[in-house]
Structure formats: C-alpha cells, structure tokens
C-alpha cells in the first residue's frame, strides 16, 4: 500500500482492500457530522476587490473625502486622503442589505447573501495573502482548502476530477500553489482548467484520443480487460491490480462524461443567455454543470494574474470586472436555486483582501491615472451564499471608514473553520499526519463563526 493509505488498509484489512476502496482516494466519504453543504464554489476575485465600493457602505468617506484621516494604517504603498466611493449604494431585498451599483444583478439576491464585513488577514501583500486564503498559511507549503475538502469528502462523480480550479488565459498569482495538495496525495490537488478554451479536450489533459479509429477504443479496452483478467487469475485478491483495471473503465467513461459536462452547447438557449456569453459566464455555466454532476470543489478565478488589483482608476477597473462577473454570478445563484441545489452548495465570493478607504498616491516614475486604492488586509468583505448560511445577513463591521474590522472580526482561519463546519467537519479533527505532526487547514487557529449559520 502507498504511504498515506497504509493505516487505512491496516485497520480495515482485506475487507476494504478487496472492495478496491483503499486504492481510490476519491471515493465518497462521510464527514464528522451532518453537513449543511455538500459542495463548494469559490469565486475568487483575485487582486482584492474594494469593500467600501461594493458590500460595505461607508457614508463617512464622503464626509471626509479629500481630507487626511485621523487614523491610518501601514499598507504596501503610500496612500493619501480619504476617497469617497464612486459607486452608489442602495438597500436590496427584504433584508435591506446595502450593496453598491457595482453588482446590480448580484444585489437582486441580497436575501440569499451572507456578507461578512469584518474579514481580516495578516499582511497587505498578494502572495502571502493568496496562500493564506487558499492554504491557511502564508509561507509554508500546506494543502489548499479544496484539497482538504476532497481529502475529507472524496467526490461524488468518479468520472470527473473532484477539485477543479478554473482560470481563463493562464494562472493567477502564485499559480498552482493556490490549489496544491502539498503533502496530501496528488489525487487531491486541484485540476487546473484553462477556461479560455471551450473544447473539452483542451480543458482536460488527455481527454480525447485522436489516434484510434472511432469505436476502436472500446474494442481495445475489451482486449485490455481480457489481458488483465488473465493476469489477475494467478494473482487473485490484489486490490491494487483490481483498482487499476477499474481506473481504465473510469477513464473511458470520463471521456464521454467530461466531454458532456464541458459542452455548453447542450444547454438551452435561455439558460445560456442567463449566464451571458462572456468567458466568465461560460465558466460559471460550466461550474453549474460540473456541480450537478457531483464535482466537490470548484474554484473560479477571474483571470490570470490579479485583475482586481486597482492601484489606480479603481472605478473603471472595478466597474469593468464586476461588469464581467455580476450577471453570471447572479445567474449561477438563480440557477442553483431553481434546481434546488443552492441549499446544499456553498458559494464563496471574495478576494485575498480588500482595498484602502484612502486614495493611493502614485509612485514617482510610474505612470498612473490616480484615484486607485491600495491593499487593505485590516478589514474587508466577503460573502457566502447557500449551503447552510444565513441569507440577507451582514456579519461584523469595519470602523467608520472601512479601515479595520472592529466588530465580530473574522480571520481567514475562522472563515476556513466555518467552511469546514458547513461541510460537516470539526476543523480541528480533519487532520493528516505528516513529518511527525497532525496537520490541519487551520493550524492552531480558527473558530467557527456560528452567527453566519442558518
């Protein structure tokens, strides 16, 4: 048996091995207690969207606009006076959640959103913050949230990867480290899909065969089955041999299943229109098709690099990016809801941090249009929807200006603990023994935020 699964077979003995379970790390598993969510979509706004311009209205910024604030925070670059939001806020839904006109479509789902306005992280810089948000540690090589989740739950559909990371046109900052499995087995690593493409065979490596005549692969597999059966005859009861035989059957089915899952042309026109024709819309439609088919964890990136990083001209930047994702996100929420899946699907929206309430002062020698905001990890907003969270609810608060999370502060570790809780895990007990230690996503931190649970 391979490392990592030794104990599993040791305890279960042959009973387990004979079922071939031992060799399939992605077989569905039960969590510690009854889960509220069964699958996760993480809409990662890479670069850090501004909270005071989207989900955390700050009238005081208008009051202090253009004035030096009494308090300030150290950030990556130099910032100056307070800058009021160029976006207009309104109250939406029965809950009256305040949301800006950056997200008019998402706002229609206000009563499903659980906005956490008191998020905070550790440093105002992208790289460590990406790592913290995704892997729970800014520097050390730790498995990503998606890897922990697939390790804990396996996945429902063996014909598709259990953990998918979509990013159109390349990698986000920190690239594959965002969805790495680190010391967990490679099977738990996120499968990266370049959603710039639309053809399934471009999306998943080696999905299609282009050198066998149509129809021949099933003949070839039948032959392989016979060869393997003969081989197994003298070696009965070897779970690994059986598992490998099984994996070819799975692969064969994956070819058609994945092709089907990624083929958006099979969606009716009205649904496609609902998501829109943009790359982002296609990503989310693909996401829904995959969720429907039992994929456990999908992370959706906005674009390569860190597009939300609006150090200058934040209005144009944020309006443009929100313009790309607002309608698709609203469509995803609506679509999941109409299919009865929203209750069991946890949707997470947010960046690696937020942005300053003050205006960034352009660095000498670097061309800039001004009117941007610098990174702010002291206080920012994220929202959750579906999967057992309280809709139409805003949790916590930043100070008057949106600098610091001050009320019911939620660290990234707390968010992780809460996500795992929603999936049915005690975050302190979802562990993996490596290098003489039981590692966990939240290391020695994290408290479940019970207030956000429905």
């Amino acid at each position: 048996m391979g490392f990592g699964l030794v104990g599993l077979e040791a305890l279960a003995g042959k009973a387990l091995a004979a079922e071939g379970v031992a060799a399939n790390p992605l077989a569905p598993k039960q969590p510690h207690f009854a889960p509220r969510a069964q699958r996760v979509v993480h809409l990662f706004m890479n670069g850090g969207p501004s909270a005071v311009d989207s989900f955390d209205e700050k009238p005081a910024l208008t009051k202090y606009h253009g004035r030096t604030l009494p308090t300030s925070q150290r950030t990556e670059r130099k910032t100056g006076t307070a800058m009021k939001s160029p976006f207009r806020f309104r109250n939406y839904g029965n809950s009256g959640l305040s949301i800006s006109d950056m997200f008019p479509h998402v706002a229609q789902h206000a009563d499903d959103l659980c906005v956490i306005r008191s998020m905070y992280a550790d440093v105002p810089n992208h790289e460590p913050s990406f790592m913290l948000m995704n892997c729970g540690d800014a520097r050390q090589a730790r498995p990503s949230l998606g890897s922990w989740v697939t390790y804990g739950l396996g996945t429902e559909n063996q014909n598709l990867p259990g953990f998918i990371a979509m990013c159109p046109g390349g990698f986000p900052t920190m690239a594959g480290q965002n969805w790495r499995s680190a010391f967990l087995p490679g099977a738990y690593q996120g499968t990266h899909i370049n959603t710039q493409h639309t053809q399934p065979e471009q999306l998943i490596e080696h999905l299609k065969n282009d050198f066998l005549r149509p129809g021949r692969q099933s003949e070839q597999l039948a032959l392989l089955r016979e060869l393997n059966a003969r081989h197994l005859e003298q070696r009965t009861g070897d779970a690994l041999l059986e598992a490998r035989i099984q994996s070819f059957e799975l692969a064969y089915r994956m070819q058609s299943e994945a092709t089907d899952a990624f083929d958006l042309s099979r969606e009716p026109a009205d649904i496609r229109a609902m998501y829109g024709n943009s790359v982002y819309g296609q990503q989310l439609l693909m996401t829904r098709r995959l969720l429907e088919r039992g994929v456990r964890f999908i992370q959706v990136w906005h674009r390569a690099g860190q597009p939300w990083d609006a150090h200058d001209a934040i209005e144009a930047n944020h309006r443009g990016l929100a313009g790309e994702c607002d309608q698709p996100i609203a469509a995803l929420l609506a679509d999941l809801k109409q299919r009865g899946m929203l209750d069991s699907t946890l949707v997470i929206w947010g960046g690696e941090f937020g942005r300053t309430p003050t205006v960034e002062i352009p660095t000498p020698g670097v061309s800039s249009q001004g009117l941007g905001r610098d990174h702010n990890h002291y206080g920012f907003s994220m929202w959750l929807a579906g999967g057992g969270v309280k809709g139409g609810y805003a949790h916590g608060a930043t100070d008057e200006l949106g600098w610091n999370a001050v009320e019911n502060r939620v660290h990234v570790h707390d968010l992780h603990a809460t996500i795992l809780h929603l999936l049915g895990f005690d975050h302190e007990q979802l562990t993996y023994r490596f290098a003489g230690r039981d590692f966990r996503l939240t290391d020695v931190h994290g408290h479940v935020v019970h207030d956000v649970l429905a």
């Binding site: 391979g2 598993k29 150290r74 680190a182 050198f211 060869l227 070696r235 690994l240």
Partner: protein, 948 residues
Amino acid sequence: MASRIHRTLLLAVFLCGLQSLCGRVAQADEMQEVFFEKRVRPILVEHCQACHGSKKQEAALRLDSASALKKGGDSGAVVVPGDPENSPLIHAVRYAEATRMPPKGKLPDASIQILTTWVKQGAYWPADPVGNPIEQKPDWQEVTRKHWAFQPVPEVPVPEFKKPEWVKDSIDAFIRVRLNAAKIEPNPPADRRTLIRRATFDLHGLPPTPAEVAAFEADSSDDAFATVVNRLLDSPRYGERWARHWLDVARYSDTRGYVRLRDNPNYHFAWTYRDYVIRAFNEDLPYDQFILQQLAADQLPHDDDPRSLAAMGFLTLGQRFINSQHDIIDDRIDVVSRGLLGLSVACARCHDHKFDPIPTRDYYGLHGIFSSSLEPFDLPVIATQPELTRYLDYIRELQQRTAQYQQFLETHRQKFELSFRNRIAEYLLAGQKEEVQANFLAVMFLVDLTKDLNPVTTQRWARLLEQTRKHHHPVLAPWNGLAALATTAGDEFATQAQELIATWQRSPQADRPMNPLVLQKLKESSLKNLEDVARGYGELFQQADEKWQAALKADSSVKELEGKDWEELRQLLYGPQAPSVVALDEIDEFFFVDASMQNQFHEQQRKIEDWLASANAAPHAHVLVDSRKPRDSHIFLRGNASNPGPAAARQFLAALSRESQRPFETGSGRLELARAITDRNNPLTARVFVNRIWMHHFGAGLVRTPSDFGLRGEPPTHPELLDHLARQFMDEGWSLKKLHRHVMLSSTYQQSSAEKPAAVRIQDPENRLLSRMSRRRLDWESLRDSLLAVSGEIDLTMGGRSVTITTQPYSRRRSVYGFVDRQNLPGIFRTFDFATPETSNPQRHQTTVPQQALFLLNSPFLKQQTLHLAVLPELTSIEPLDQRIDAVHRRLFGRPAQPTEIELATRFLTAQPDTKPEVNPANPSQYLTPWEEYLQALLLSNEFAFVD
C-alpha cells in the same frame, strides 16, 4: 500513515462487527486524547505552566503532567475528575472566589468552558509510557534513555534456525524466526524470469532485455543470480535509478518555487547536484562520506576535482519562500533532520517538541549553524582541470560581469551607509514608531513611502531600541526614558524631560550608567517633543562621526575614538550593533525596499543571471560557505523572530549526544554537525538509511514511517534485523552496494509474490512478516522509462542540464533528467504520485486515479512509443505472426507468450475489417493499425505496470 478521519471512519465502519468493544474503547480514548492535546493542553501551557510548571511551582502546584495534577498543590488536589463544581481549578479560572487564576486576567469564556468540560469528562491526561515529554530536561533524558531509536545500535546475534538451506543471508534468519513464531511458511522462490525482472526494475527502474533474461535462464551456476545483481550494480543505470530515491528525500527541484516578478525562478545548476548524486551511487561512495559532502563539501579536501562541491545542493536547492531567511533555514533544518536522522526537529521551531526530546534550543542550535552559513554570490565552477580550458572565455566574461556588479554594490553600499548615518535623527524617530516585525517578508511588504527612509534601516533601529529597552544601553537609555514619558509634547514635556535628565545627572546608578555626552547635549537642548530629542541625538552623532573621520585622517590604523563616551557613540555608527552598517551579503534587502533603486539593482543582477543561464556556461555548484562571523542564534519565543529569548549554542541535538553535548568550535559548525550525524555512535543515521533502502526493495520499510523514528513513529516490525543491518552497514564501510547484495541474495527477497492462503491474509494482511514478496507498481519514472526502453527509443545519455519531458517534442532521456518545476509541477507528475518537491519526502503516495489511465490511453507520448515499438526491426522481421507475438511478450514482460495469449491476439487482429492505415480527417496523424492497437493494449496492461 492514516489520518484521523480515516481512522475514525474506519473504526466506525469496519470494527463494529469484528471487535466492536475494543474499537469503541480505542475511539473514545483517541477522542479524549485529541480533545486534551488540541484544546486543553494549549490552555495549560499558555496560561498556567509558567507559574505551575517545571520552572516555578507556585503553591507547590504543577499543571504539566498527569501525576502532578493528581498530586495537586499546597492545598491538595485542584481537580476532582468528573466534578467541575468541586474542583478548585475551575473555581479559580471562573474568578468566582478569592483565588483567581490566571492572575493577569480572566480566560476567555470558551477556554473556561473547555477546562470545565475536560474536568467533567474525567480530566483525561494521556499516560505516556515513558514519562511526559512536554516536561523539561529530566523527563526527556528518560525518554531518550528508553526510546528504541535513541539506543546505540547494538551487535545483534543472528538467530539460530534449523533449516540452514533457507538462510542464504543473515536477513533470512531474522525473518524466518518471526514467521515460525507466527506459524507462517514463506513462499517458495520466484522463478528466474520473475526474479531477473524484479531485480532489474529494482536496481535500474527498467525491464530486462530478452537477451538478459535468456542468459540468466541459461546460467546453471550456483551464483547465477549474484552475477545478475553484480552486473546490474555495475551499470550506470543503477545510479540513475537510486539517485532518484534520494532526490525525493532531498526535495530536489530545478526551481526555487514562487519568486517575485523580476527574480529568475530557476536554479541554473541544480542538475550538478543531481549528477553528483547519480555519480555517488554509481561509485558506491560510502554513505558517511556522502553525508559529509552534502553538508560540508566546502570544508573537505577535494584536490583537483571540485565536483563534490555540488553535493551541497542537498541544503541549498530547497524552496525559497520569497527569500525569507528563517523559512529557508527551517527548510534546511528539516531536510537534514527528517532526511538524515528521521526526526522532525522543525516541530521545535515554536515550542519544545511535543512528543520527541527536541527542545527549541536544539532547533536554534541548528538554526545558528545555518544562519552562519552563506551562499556566496559567485558560485564556484566545478569543472575538472582538463575541462576547465573549455570554459576560459566563459569564466573571463563572468568575472567581468561579477566585478561590475560588485562595484555597483560597493558604490551603493557606501551611499546607503552615508545616508543612514546622516539621517540618524529621522531613523531614531521612525524606529521608535515602528513595530518590530517577525521577519523580512513582513518588512518588505510594509513599505512606508511616506518618508523616503529605508524601511530595513528603520526596522533595525526599531529592533535595537527594543533590545535596549530590555537591556540597558548607556547611549540609548536616555532616549528610551524620554520616549516613555507620559506627556508627548509641549512645555510639560520640556519640564518633565529636563527633570528626568537632571535626576540622571544628579544621581547616577552604577549598574545603569548613562552616557554623559548625551545627557549634557539633551540638557542644553530645548526639548518640546521627541522630535527635539531625536534632533539632539542626531547632532551628537554627527559630532562623533566628524571626530572619527578626523581621527582616521590623522591615522588610518586607528581602532577607536579617544574617550569612552565618544567611543560609545561611535559604536552605534560603525560597531557591530550599528543599524547603519550595510554588509554586502544583506544589501539586497535594502535595494528591494527602495523603489528608486530596485530596477537598477535587478538589471545588474540579470546581466550575471543571463550569463549563467547561457548555453555555454560552465557547471557551477550551489554551495554554502561559512560566514566570517559565525554566531549563535537566539531562541525565538513561539517562533517569533521579534521575540528573541536566550542564545542557543551551535551544537548537535541533545537527544543524540547523550552526555557529550558541547558547542561546535569551527566556523559555522556545519562540518562538525556532519561528523556528529555520521558518527558510528549516532543511533539514527544508519538505521534510517538502511530502512529507506529496505523500503525501496520491499515496498515498505521495517519502520513504516521512514522519516519519523521519533516517539510517534511506528516501531520497527523486525527491530533486531534493523539493528543487524545498520550495524553491518557501518562495519562494511557504509557501502550501499554491499547492502543491496545482502538484501537481494537473501531468500526473503527471492520469494515469489504469490498470494497467501486466506488465513495468512487475515493474520498478516499487510505482509509485515514478509512471507511473500510484495507486488509493486511502477512509479512514474520507471513507467515512462520502460515505455521508452521497450519502444527502443530511450536515449541513455547521462548528465547535464535538465530536459523538459512532458511537452512535445518529448525528450527521450531518462526521467531522472526531467526538469522539476517546484512552482508548477506538471499535472502528469502529480497524477502519477511524483514526490512533491516542496518538502523532504519520506515515501511516495500510491494512488490509482483515472487520469493515469487517460494518459496511457490517449496521450501522444503513448501513441509515439506504440508506433516506435511497431516498427522495431527486431520485431517486424519476425514471421509468422505467432512468433512475433511471442517476441513482443518477451520484450515487454520478459516471458514467452502462452498459446492462449497468441490465440487472443490473433482473434483481436483478424476480427478487424481492414488493416490498412487510415488518416484521421480531423487530425493529420494516422490512426493506429490493429497491430498497433494491440501493442498499445499490452503497454497498458497490468503486467507491464506491475512487478511480481
């Protein structure tokens, strides 16, 4: 290793029927232990043990072990298990009565609740078989004294065994004794074809050729198999295979991992380490030498062959954590401790190791060794003398570019220093306001450009001020005193400041002397706020600097300023503690945070980088050298670099030193560390290595946690055998090839892999007793290399720069030469369970996922190998078909085809309507012919992928 979730789940699912009671008890215990370790113990450690632990015992109470808890304190037991309402400890933490604990402030409600629950559930405290390791030294000695892996490797008598013909090597006696005790018969020997296939895959990671199989089958001599093993060991293919096992441990990669935008992620000469390892295995370099070179080749004689310098890639080729020094050091400590000693010392970075006798001072002892070892900017060329002439032009140009760069650095170093000294008043003030940061990463991300001060220098002032607040400093004590005034500005500040200065002048304290020049200067200044104080200091430092410059002018050999008080000031400008002194080896930090200089700096670096990466570059070694001023590191309390505790001497681990732990004396201590690791009396080194070798031969180690021989690791299945092998290994000159011979010539190794009867499978489901050979699946490298080998395509060129093996056109080189990108490991590597290069790897995972099958079914690589195999002249020339099918079986599986297999093949081939090649209209490539389809199926078969 199983995880908790696996265990919990399995206990629930599988043990219910079988041993339900036992299972439940185990589970309950485990849950309690988890609860205690994760929730309760941290509270006790953090809030109670400082006063109720090994150092202090307020009220004679200790809260750091089961027995101490039971014993209680002056007023008796503090905990009544099961009854929190009558437990004084609970009353105390609730702040309900007169005794309120902890005195500094009430615990959060959650913590109180945890303690209450804990007491209510019986105040479980895990009984440790060898004392409580969390306690300090005395108990650790006890742990060390008793834990099997810390015992010297004893001489073990080989057990007597009645059937001597089975005992071909002493190994067999140890194995057979256990089998007999369990009443299990070993399997009969494997047949010769199986044996040679097993041996060839084991030693080469490649299948034997049909000729090799035939020769072995025809060899009727007694030592026929020994001949095979020797031939395999003598082949350079052996080093290529076994080097890869070591590269897993060494977390080898050709890249640094994530780097900042402008940095080059590649280690240009990582491959020199890989080639060194291959050569070391091929030449059977004694393992102790292998370790010495990997840790300290720079300090060993290497005559006119400097290639061994590349060995230090073991230390240097780790992940770079965006240049965070403490993390880089941590990675080096980890690879040395887990890789060579099977101990996870890195656990002791933040606190004493929970389970093993590794105190933080041991961690920081090693930390000092590595922080006193530097990577030189110009990496040494490691060409041998005759090769050197080829590189003369390259070296000349490199020297020129390096000299330019050094000149650039020196110019700016002087500029930096000048600016830092001239603006000392501003830095002093900035340092006062600055928070001390744990590491450079934080500093560089917290650039404050509101002033054009260099944040690294500001940070250094902050650090210095913090230190001097804790440890009196004659020059800075007045500053600290004035900075601490309750009033911060205005006339009141002025009054209070002058009063304070007057007090200092009036009644000096012998143990807290104040620099009189400073006091005088401040007394004469108008001090309305701290800015004024800073200005005063600035002027005084300026005077000191002028005096010093004048003194230098008069006599360039002058060592210090006349007058103790002036010299004290000068020390803060030029002395070892001076924040303004910029050393060349740390200058990049200053550049990085200086927006105006960054670009120039990177451009200078790139000129060299480009040259190193150029095709005609000479091989270099990624070495370490000792710093000129090696120094001990301070223990970082809770792992926080801004919270330094006492210094930790650079020395070997206490647990492995027994009575003889003493500080290293030469340079950084790296060579001494290497010698301590390779000392014959070190109980771990040989055991750990021998176990790794065993694991690669049998699929599992005698110790099944190969990088954890500590208290939480698994004990060996055959302790005496492990000791025997370790001892013999050292006695035979740390020779790996001799070890291979012992293993492979044993009856144990040569058993067949046939399944055992059901009873035995239940009795020993994991084959721990080794009554059969475990069947093994080819790993990524062996699978890929075998495909290339049977297709006739393999390119056996050795060494050199790494090649890309995952994209077209595919390299035909062996996989060990493939480029390993730590940052973006190709998906196919992960799919096939390649060792993650992020940290030292004890053992590869083994998973079966459909993506593996997709690669084999559909990848162009498979198609290409299939087509090459189909046109091999040695196959195409064979007629009729059944003989060709037979030849293919011999080539792929090392055995003839059975008649039924020929029949199966014929059926498949003749069932086809048309065997003419066709062109795929959507793709310029051709469809496979049925014969090619058949060949691919064979390449996909379990028989190809598994070794019996």
